[in-house]
Structures are given as C-alpha cells and as structure tokens.
Symmetry: C2
Subunit: 357 residues, 2 copies
C-alpha cells in the first residue's frame, strides 16, 4: 500500500533513540514529520539532526508515534487520539497495561525490537529498524484499517511485523529480553562480589562471560518502568528460571551425568535452531478475507498468522464490491497459504486464496 | 628465560583442540614435539597437521602437557612423571581435585582459558593462546624451578600467566565460566519451552538474548566431567545466583524501584569496569627474592602477586651466590613493585627491588 503524498504526515512524540530514528526514517521516505519532546532542547536537536521538519503536533497526521517512557504512554496516546483523526501507535516495551488503558479503534499497540548502544536522538538512525522485528498488538477494539496503516508504515521503515496478542507479547519479551537482562546483571554482580579486592581475577572472564553480561552495561534508568509495566510476566519467568537453575543444581550436586547431558543437549539443539531475525520470503499468494463488522477480527486473523508461523508480506483493507462489508487482503508466503486459509475457515471466515501473476 | 635448543623437547598427551594447538605453537618455536592420543587416528592426524613431530612419549621431554579429558588427568600425569625427569602440567578446567590427587614437586596444575568454536585437532591453531589467560596453580609441593619452566613455556605461547591457589581458581571459573554456561542453557531451554509450537516467536530474540545464550550451542559432552570435578564450587555459585535472582524477583514484585535501580547500577558499573583480558605492561622492575627450601614458597609468592593485581612479566630461578639457597627473579610492573616487595617483607621474605637499565 503506497500512501499518496498528501497523507504522508506524521507526528512523533518523544524524540529519543527510537522516536528520532522513526523521524529520520520517515523523512528519508518523503514524509512530513512533526514532533515534540518533554525536553525542548531535545526537540530542537531533533530538528537540527533532520529527524523532524518542525516542532509541534500535526493535526493532519495520518499516524502518530508515541515514543516516550512507558509510564507516560497511555495519557499521551489519548491526547494524540483527540488531536488527530489518524492512527496512533506506541513503542512501549510492555503492552498489556497500555492497550488495556487506551482501548480505541484507532490505537494499535506496538514495540520495535531494535536498539543501539547509543542513547538519545544523537544515536538515532534512519535504518535502525532495517531487518528488526516490530511487534504490533491489535486487540478486540482495533480497527482493521488502522492496523493495516500502521503495519504498512513500519514495514516501510524496514521492519518485519509480527502480530501478537498483548499478553503473549509481554510473556515473550519477559523471556527473551527482560529476564535475560536481570540475569546478566545478577551474574555480573555475583562475579564482581566474588572478586572483591582482586579485580584482576575478572581477567579470567573469557568471551562467553563477556557476551553474557554485555547487556548489563546498558542504562539502568529504563528498567524500573519496564519492570513495573511488565511485572506479572517478569515475576513468572523469573520463578521459572529460578526453578530451572534449582534443578540444574540438583543434577550437578547428585552427579547425575545423564540428566545434565540431556538438559544441555536440549538447550544446544534449541540454540542451534534459534530462528534468524529476518524471514526469507519467497513466492507469495493473496488471501482475500471478507471481514464482518465485529470486534477483534483483525486481532484474531493476524495473531492466528503468527501462531501458524506464516510470514505476511502485506496487509490491506478494502471495501467489498458486494456491499458495505470490508475485505482484508493479505499477501502471505505461498507455502503456508493453504494452511492459513484452512485455519481461517475453521474459525468461520470465508477466505479465498489466489496465486499472484 | 630462553631454553637452549637441546632442552626444547616436549610431549603432548591428548591431541584435541588444546593439545594440538600446544603442539603447533611449540613446533613453530623450534621445539621437538612428541605426542599420543587415546585415538591412534587422532595422533596420526596431529602429525599430518604438523602438531606433532612423532607419535610417542619422549623420555627426554623437558615438559609434558596433559591435555586429556579431566577425569583421566591424574593417572596420566603420574605416568608422565615416571616417564621423564622434566616438568609436567595439565590443562584441566577444574584444579583442586587434580592437584590434590597428584602432589609432586615437578607437577604444576594449569588451565589455559582459551577455546574455539571448532573442536578437535582440526580446529587447532598455533596462535590459540595469544593474549589468552593461562592459569597456573602451584601449591605446597611445587618446585619453584618447575613452576618457572612451565611459566616460561606457556608465556612463550603468547599466554598471560595468572598464578592462583587451586581452590580459588575453581571458584573463579565456576563464577565466570561454569555457572554462566549452565545459566545460558537454562535461559535457552526456558525460551524454547515457552515458544512451544510457535518457534517463530523466538524471532523476537534480539542481540542481547543471542549473546547470552551463544555458549549453550557448544558441545555438551565436556560438561559432565567439568561439573563432577568442580561440583562444590559450581553448587555454591548456583546457590548464590538463585539467591540473587530471588532477591531481584522480590524487588520487581514489590515495585521497589530504588532497590532495582541500585542493583542494576552496581552491575553496570562492574561490567563497564570489567578488566580487559590483556594487561598493558609498561616499565618493569626486578624483584630478587631469596627462597628458603620450605614447601609452598613458589605458590605463596606467585599467588600473592595475583592478589595484589601485579602484572608479572617473567619468573626465573637461580642459585644464590652466597650458598645453596635459591633465588627467585621476578620481572614485575614498575608501579606495583614496591607494594609487592612490602607485602613479601610482611610475610618474612627478604626481597630486593631494582630498576632495570
């Protein structure tokens, strides 16, 4: 879906690393980008660096990105919804609390899984999202057209969109990001404590330890918010990790060699098969899905695709030629088109599948 | 200390990645290297690759490296001590059990902290130890001359020698290597289990998670031995880590923002200050230390240097001009020469310190 030039207007609220990179990326692609920041000097710097055309909120914005600290997001999203008629999305690292607090058809929760060692707008880059996964979390209130628009824009920034239920997102990021970060910090502090007064002992730390603790060098300031917003999932995953380590402790203490080998082999196999970030999308087919005007349709259809592991190349909405009902057009990888269609049929949809010429 | 050519004869027992790399490195430096392996084909391959001159045990070897799996080391070290009059060292990843089992003046426990993604003699490389830390664990029985010889040879392979008490070594490697490895495996298995049936979800794993779990892709086969040999230290460190994660869990569950920030900031500071592997050695001074013929002198002097964080460039033994008593000659970094001397004096030694021209 190519937006016509007059629609390429965006607002970015919060001009840090992520907001600044969104601004740079959109302006590279011909968008007019307005933006604000809690710190006027940061907004001015964003203009200077070319991340914004102008400081301010654009009432004509087709899309507004809220890229502030997590705690401030719901209130700012509501202001953005009142200030424009366009879609609004955010970039917060925990989604359930935000999505539950907002509940508006034009709001689509989002989370770009991208970062940088650099902080703030000075670290921003137009290609920060190239090849990165960008999670969108449509829910029962999400309008399919708003979802399709946000999806198109973030895809255009180079990101690969993965649609997830908000709670599932929070669980997965607790597993692959939040708890690993806390664990890295725990390992680093433990080593530092044990080396007390003999810092040179840490010279024994080889690449593996350095790799495992690298993230603990990141800025701690963002974590109280993240842990507060995603508390439930983080606590559950920490409990599971503590349980796993307790089992490993027993296996080692009992010299249960077979049990140890079994556990390490399972982990080895999982690590070797860890999917790469960028999906390889070959031939695609088109799914046309008439969508009833009932809540939660876009959330159900897109998260089903994620559950089935289907790579989706594009999502658009259109009006049906047979009346008021909308139609959802999905471009999906050819190999999984039939499985996706059959699963949709099982849910009561009436999709049609066709090859592309 | 340059060994005269006739003394450059070594035996390597066990021709895997480490043994093969020792052979390649020594032959590059003009040594004659004999060697054996439990698998005759591996020994033959080591000759083919230039890691050995000849298959066999050299009765004239000045030094024998035992680079077999940990469980087999004590018995093979004893055979090597009976077969030669030279020094014997090993490369096992846990030291207390080995050093306690052997107890011979000519044996010096060792552990090169080097590895490679590649396995076996085909992955061996003459420069595997360049810049790596190589721990030596002299104890109460170690002969200073044997220590000085082993130290010279492994330094010549490009490694940086760190002298540690065997139990302290085992604690430190549990902290910086063994427990991190087990933790990486636990994190990887947890993520894999949570993504059950939705492997694509692991595409959300960004660089931090990939870094943290990388070591879990390594070969599990070596770990039952390592965990058995270093059981006590590993269990103690696992207990401490489980305790730390439990505290973090409480901090998150209670939304104790100040407590969380404090912990993450301590870890950040420790990670940023993690010393680099290679010490920068500038000007050096010479310490001459008359050494009484009592047990444990070399262990006490060298591990004291490690405790004080002194970089040592060279260790040699000599006979005193005033009689039978030996003298230990240490080249140490100039900045810490006086502190080292004073600490030695406090232990009853009579060291002299002099600048080098």
């Amino acid at each position: 879906m190519d937006l016509e030039p007059s629609l390429r207007r965006a607002t970015v609220v919060g001009c840090g690393l992520i907001g600044g990179s969104i601004g740079l990326g959109l302006r590279d692609r011909g968008w007019h980008v307005s933006g604000i920041d809690a710190d006027d000097a940061v907004a001015a710097r964003a203009v200077e660096l070319g991340a914004l055309d102008v400081v301010g909120i654009d009432p004509l914005a087709t899309i507004t990105f809220v890229a502030t600290p997590v705690g401030a997001i719901p209130a700012i999203v509501r202001v953005a919804l009142e200030s424009t008629t366009g879609a609004v999305t955010d970039v917060g690292g925990a989604k359930t609390s935000i999505v539950d607090a907002v509940s508006d058809p034009r709001f689509v929760g989002g989370h770009p899984m991208a970062g940088s060692e650099q902080l703030g707008v000075d670290g921003a880059s137009a290609d920060l999202f190239e090849g990165a996964v960008w999670v969108l979390t449509p829910n029962a209130t999400t309008d399919p057209a708003a979802y399709a628009l946000v999806r198109t824009v973030v895809s255009d920034l180079g990101a690969e969109v993965v649609a997830l239920d908000p709670a599932r997102h929070d669980e997965v990021v607790a597993v692959v990001s939040h708890v690993p970060h806390l664990t890295a910090s725990a390992l680093m502090s433990l080593a530092s404590g044990r080396a007390e007064g003999q810092r040179t002992l840490l010279r024994l730390a080889a690449g593996g330890f350095r790799d495992m603790t690298r993230v603990s060098a990141g800025s701690p300031g963002i974590w109280p918010d993240i842990c507060a917003e995603n508390r439930e999932a983080i606590v559950a995953v920490l409990d599971e990790l503590i349980g796993s380590l307790g089992q490993l402790r027993t296996v080692v203490a009992d010299d249960d060699r077979a049990g140890l080998l079994e556990r390490l082999e399972a982990a080895q196999s999982a690590r070797i098969n860890l999917p790469s970030r960028v999906s390889q999308l070959g031939a695609v087919v088109e799914l046309r899905i008439p969508i009833p005007d009932t809540p939660g349709v876009i959330a159900q259809i897109t998260t089903l695709g994620t559950e089935l592991g289907v790579n989706v190349a594009d999502v658009q909405t259109a009006h049906s030629s047979e009346g008021d009902q909308g139609v959802l057009l999905l471009l999906v990888e050819a190999d999984k088109g039939e499985a996706y269609r059959d699963a949709l049929v099982a849910l009561g949809y009436r999709p049609s599948l066709q090859a592309l010429g």
